[in-house]
Symmetry: C2
Subunit: 227 residues, 2 copies
Amino acid sequence: MPIKEQISSIPLFEGLPGDQLEELSSIIVDLDYQSGQSIFSEGDEGAGFYVVVSGRVKIFKISADGKEQILHIFDHGEPFGEVAVFAGMHFPANAEAMERSRILYFPRDALVGLIQKDPFIALNMLAVLSRRLRGFAALIEDLSLKEVPGRLAAHLLFLSEQKKGSKDFELTITKGQLASLLGTIPETLSRILTKMSKQGLIESNGARIKILDRDALQDLAEGLAKI
Amino acid sequence: MPIKEQISSIPLFEGLPGDQLEELSSIIVDLDYQSGQSIFSEGDEGAGFYVVVSGRVKIFKISADGKEQILHIFDHGEPFGEVAVFAGMHFPANAEAMERSRILYFPRDALVGLIQKDPFIALNMLAVLSRRLRGFAALIEDLSLKEVPGRLAAHLLFLSEQKKGSKDFELTITKGQLASLLGTIPETLSRILTKMSKQGLIESNGARIKILDRDALQDLAEGLAKI
């Protein structure tokens, strides 16, 4: 299969127009790794990122006592090293082929040249990533809408208790921190707060929370009700 | 607060170096919307994207019978319209301020000019988005590792049954489709397949699946075991 077809099915480039896939193809280095062969080492400069076409790659660190700790295993269609390369950082871990693997290499310098020549390549890649982010966010929302409202209700009741039962208080941490504490993302947390407000459970204004219906929050926290 | 400080706390730009925040600030238009004021309409050209500083914005469609259907509500720090703008598309829905709102506007043309002058702005934004994607993916994995292996085991047993109990068969849909069917993402699905293989439940090679331990899959499907 020609490289252009190969990369059109990679999520990172999904939906890029044909001429941009063509331009990207022109900078790719097609690599073949043997089982056990090192791809990069921790601390190496992020001079380019990789996409697995076939085979499997492990990303790992070596602990102080020499033990290998596998962080990820990547296979068909998955990019690796891209965060470090986009950010201009060194690789934070090692990569090694776990079996014979075909891997596409995208050199950073060539990518920068490409973007300079055609900024729309970067915009389209930003579009792909933002669309995936939106999709992931929706999925996280689906998954966490089952449990997060209850945990959030419990947290609000706890904060109120700490303020000697006051119904009017401020969140003590940022919404980003609160979201990660609850196992969700800020976007979902915002939406749950909005939903709680609409249903008359609370009033929410920035970090300020006012409890309007303590019983309903209690039911939510105990899993006796849903929103 | 100066605009540069404002945007440094927006997830989309988190961790961008100071000079790039400065460059971005120079193209921003600072807008003030009244409650109920329209920001853009479905079908408008995506000439720029928006970030909410304060207030709230609803994204909605109007159905054939004139009913408003709210798709999203965005507040502090959240971007909207960016997918359409990056992709060079028209807006797929309407946006309206739900209360008095301060909103930053990033014109697409100016952004393209900025990227042409300094491609590293685009690379850094790609880094931010890929880092967020990795974080979201880890969260989805956390959330779905509770349930997805069981559902996957049930699906594999079902496929085997369809093949009259054969232990060796091919997935009938792509891994992307299978992942979304199971409520997860391809990366997590890959990892679960790898884990099942390591534990000797199956052998997985591309779309080809071989069941090695039917009883263990059965236990997994029924929630009697975990991987």
